[in-house]
């Protein structure tokens, strides 16, 4: 067989290709994440507090829904049977949200026009999220990464879908396809609690102004105490260090991994702090990264997050705060119960939480409580020497007070809460 020139070249080429292919394949296999996934899988099978797995879409949710009718009359609507915001989000996930256009920039009046658009539905977030977060929560491909504090949807006209940011007064319109407004109108009809409101701006924050006094229901819950073993298993055991030091300290118990990288302090009053220095968190990143990473850290705790909602972000500490909500209003506790705070400093991750949480709802003996109008409260505050210009936010909230112990019930009392000098304080505490 004569070795022609073409054959020779073909052989060289084939050999070179095969050699390159084997190198490429080796590289892919060595760097394939699946290799590590398998090792990781064992550690993710942890004490997940037995919950139906909760997604970001169950926690990063709008907390209030405002309906504006054809006469521009606004109501905060709620349903005690089915979560309205979850139902609306489920509906939105079926739509296709695409490109965005800015329709208003930095104009307070125009911003308010959008916020009180006739026949519209407004979804309010307690604190800004971003377009990318919405894209991932609603399963969308929006091209914007603007910050969003409210979403406004016109119930009659298609393609009137707006993202609002009350920090900048910017409004973005989103192009929507596959939109079904009929089912949205149906969901809105399902409400059984209504409070008359007027959306107003107060210090760059869109607030609910309740022009009349309102009747707000009480709620009762059984308090559940999570055993410390759940947290040591979830937070400390996935390291290479197989031993955990347990130390009694002055006001609690401290659990430390052998390499000192992770420590969990559970105090006698039920508050707990988890410090993790084992990972380099890198640059602190944007809001989206912070919210997402904080959410996953919160999820790691394995506690029940049924009532938890994304509540706030403190840029100075890179701290995301999640808080318990009931009936569309936040729950506040002076000892920090009912919140989970995740701070992501570049070399340290700190999670503050509590081993007590609101578990099972129980019937309450109290009926509704009447709360005075927003104006009355603001006037009262002014009379008591509070500088109302420094008020950042004001809304109804639930007061969780009294002694906590496992399996005791707590009655949550509705009352006015004011965000003053950066902190939420009850009306009672603020004037005293």
């Amino acid at each position: 067989m004569k070795d022609t020139k073409t054959r020779k070249i073909a052989r060289h080429v084939i050999l070179a290709l095969l050699a390159l292919a084997s190198m490429a394949l080796s590289w892919i296999i060595w760097t394939n994440p699946a290799r590590y996934e398998r090792a990781k899988q064992v550690s993710t099978e942890k004490v997940q507090s037995n919950q139906v797995s909760r997604d970001m879409s169950d926690v990063i949710l709008p907390t209030q829904v405002i309906y504006t009718n054809s006469n521009q009359k606004q109501t905060l609507i709620n349903s005690s049977k089915k979560s309205l915001s979850k139902a609306i989000i489920n509906e939105l996930s079926k739509w296709k949200l695409e490109s965005s256009t800015r329709v208003s920039r930095g104009n307070k009046e125009r911003f308010l026009d959008y916020a009180s658009m006739t026949r519209s539905l407004m979804l309010k977030y307690p604190s800004n999220v971003t377009g990318q977060i919405l894209s991932s929560v609603y399963d969308q491909k929006m091209d914007t990464n603007t910050e969003v504090s409210q979403i406004v949807i016109n119930l009659d006209r298609k393609n009137e879908f707006f993202l609002l940011d009350d920090k900048t007064y910017d409004v973005y319109q989103i192009k929507v396809t596959k939109q079904s407004l009929k089912s949205l109108r149906k969901i809105v009809k399902n409400n059984d609690q209504e409070y008359g409101v007027k959306e107003k701006i107060m210090n760059h924050k869109l607030i609910n102004d309740y022009p009349d006094s309102i009747e707000v229901p009480y709620y009762s819950f059984l308090i559940n105490k999570e055993s410390s073993s759940v947290f040591t298993a979830n937070l400390l055991t996935d390291t290479d260090a197989d031993s955990i030091d347990t130390k009694k300290v002055k006001d609690g118990t401290e659990y430390v991994t052998a390499n000192n990288a992770k420590r969990l302090l559970i105090q006698n009053d039920g508050s707990a702090t988890f410090n993790d220095t084992s990972k380099n968190n890198g640059k602190n990143g944007d809001l989206k990264t912070n919210i997402e990473k904080s959410f996953y850290q919160m999820k790691q705790l394995g506690v029940q997050v049924d009532n938890m909602r994304y509540f706030n972000f403190h840029p100075s500490q890179y701290q995301a705060e999640f808080r318990d909500y009931v009936g569309g209003f936040p729950i506040f506790n002076n000892d920090g119960l009912g919140t989970i705070k995740v701070s992501r400093q570049s070399s340290e991750l700190t999670t503050a939480f509590s081993i007590y949480n609101l578990d099972v709802p129980v019937p309450t003996s109290e009926n509704n409580k009447e709360l005075p109008s927003t104006e009355t409260i603001l006037n009262q505050l002014e009379l008591n020497g509070i500088d109302t210009k420094k008020i950042e936010d004001i809304d109804v909230g639930y007061d969780w007070s009294g002694k906590v112990s496992a399996n005791s019930t707590v009655e949550l009392e509705p009352t006015w809460y004011i965000k003053y000098r950066g902190d939420w304080t009850s009306y009672r505490d603020l004037i005293s």
Binding site: D3, K8, R11, H12, I14, L15, L18, A19, A21, S22, L25, S26, I28, I29, N32, P33, A34, R35, E37, R38, Q41, V42, S43, T44, E45, K46, V47, Q48, S49, N50, Q51, V52, S53, S79, S80, K81, K82, S83, K86, S220, L222, N224, K225, E226, S227, S229, V230, A233, Q304, D306, D359, V360, P361, V362, P363, T364, S365, A406, N407, T409
Partner: protein, 345 residues
């Protein structure tokens, strides 16, 4: 010439190497595919283990439904409606009606509801009868159970049940009835775990004996805790297991929100049995009725204390269950690591 041969050998070797590398790459891809769908694959793995343990089961559903915490009050005013009942000797004790029928109703044990549905709906036979629905899972040849419904699902708690007693001649001789009033939804609806997940949890808690059959798994509502303002009911998967060694069906309960095992108070069910015997004795001899009713009262007080114990048990259950869940997770990680071992072998 030699160079050509070497080159050909190299081509063959590289071809074989590439085939091998591609094969293993493909396998990694497949595995990472299963990793991403962990929850369903985990269920499949557990179901496989169950089959290895000779546990058989009916087709299980992965459909997710929703449910809510409900509250209700034990009806304490049944006494006022007793006079409406005709042709029966009925008395109220411990918030339950104990009644003996003057004319026993003959039924077909296989399909008792055919005769009894009409009987139950008649307000002169059963108080609030239209609220009760026949429950095939709880009924057997000696008792036929009707339950009240919450959110269209049966109440698996004696306080919301109507239990008919059947004698050897296939006749209904009497009944006991508990009634729940003021049903309310406490919180918004929330997702529940699927039927498959409930059964696999139960297996992971080591509550399904080998060589047994899961006959049914139904969503119902069970008593979670009792407060001053009423009883809290929680959506629950109730799973009926028939073990090869015994004849009866044993029921197990899984909290459908959390997947936690709900321990039943055995004491309470035993004392109910005694009440049933007492009712039987009441129906057999009316002379002894007076003394027996005294006994019923005593037993029902015992029952009450037992049920208050059981509520204490369920509340303290959370600590028990968290340790149980730790155990189960140990099982899960074990099973997944053993899976990894078998793959590497």
């Amino acid at each position: 010439m030699d160079f050509r041969r070497i080159e050909v050998i190299f081509i063959i070797v590289f071809a074989i190497l590439n085939a091998y590398l591609f094969g293993s790459y493909w396998q990694y891809q497949l595995e990472s595919g299963t990793v991403s769908s962990t929850s369903s694959s985990r269920n499949t793995t557990i179901l496989k283990e169950m089959r290895n343990d000779q546990i058989t089961y009916m087709p299980l559903s992965n459909t997710k439904s929703s449910g809510y915490y409900a509250s209700a009050k034990v009806d304490t005013s049944l006494k006022n409606d007793l006079k409406r009942l005709i042709d029966q000797d009925a008395r109220v004790s411990g918030d339950k009606i104990y009644s003996t029928l003057a004319d026993p109703v003959t039924i077909n044990v296989k399909q008792p509801q055919k005769t009894l549905n009409a009987f139950v709906k008649n307000r002169n036979n059963i108080i609030f009868g239209s609220q009760y629905t026949y429950n095939v899972n709880l009924s057997n040849s000696t008792q036929i159970v009707y339950t009240q419904m919450i959110d269209g699902r049966p109440v698996y708690s004696k306080a919301g049940q109507l239990i008919f007693y059947v004698n050897g001649a296939q006749e209904v001789t009497g009944y006991t009835q508990g009634h729940l009033a003021n049903q309310e939804q406490l919180r918004e609806e929330s997702d529940l775990i699927s039927q498959t997940r409930a059964v696999t949890w139960l297996y992971q808690y080591n509550e399904i004996p080998n060589n047994s059959k899961i006959e049914w798994a139904e969503l119902g509502y069970t008593n979670l805790l009792t407060t001053d303002n009423g009883v809290v009911y929680v959506p629950t998967w109730i799973i009926g297991i028939k073990s090869k060694s015994s004849t009866g069906i044993e029921t197990k309960r899984i909290n459908a929100f959390s997947g936690v095992l709900i321990k039943k108070d055995s004491e309470a069910s035993e004392s109910t049995k005694t009440v049933q015997q007492v009712v039987d004795s009441v129906s057999s001899s009316s002379e002894e009725a007076s003394s027996a009713s005294g006994e019923t009262a005593r037993i029902s007080t015992a029952l009450n204390s037992a049920s208050s114990n059981s509520s204490a048990d369920t509340t303290s259950g959370s600590s028990v269950t968290s340790s149980a869940s730790t155990g189960s997770s140990a099982i899960t990680s074990q099973s997944s690591s053993s899976g990894a071992n078998s793959e590497s072998e």
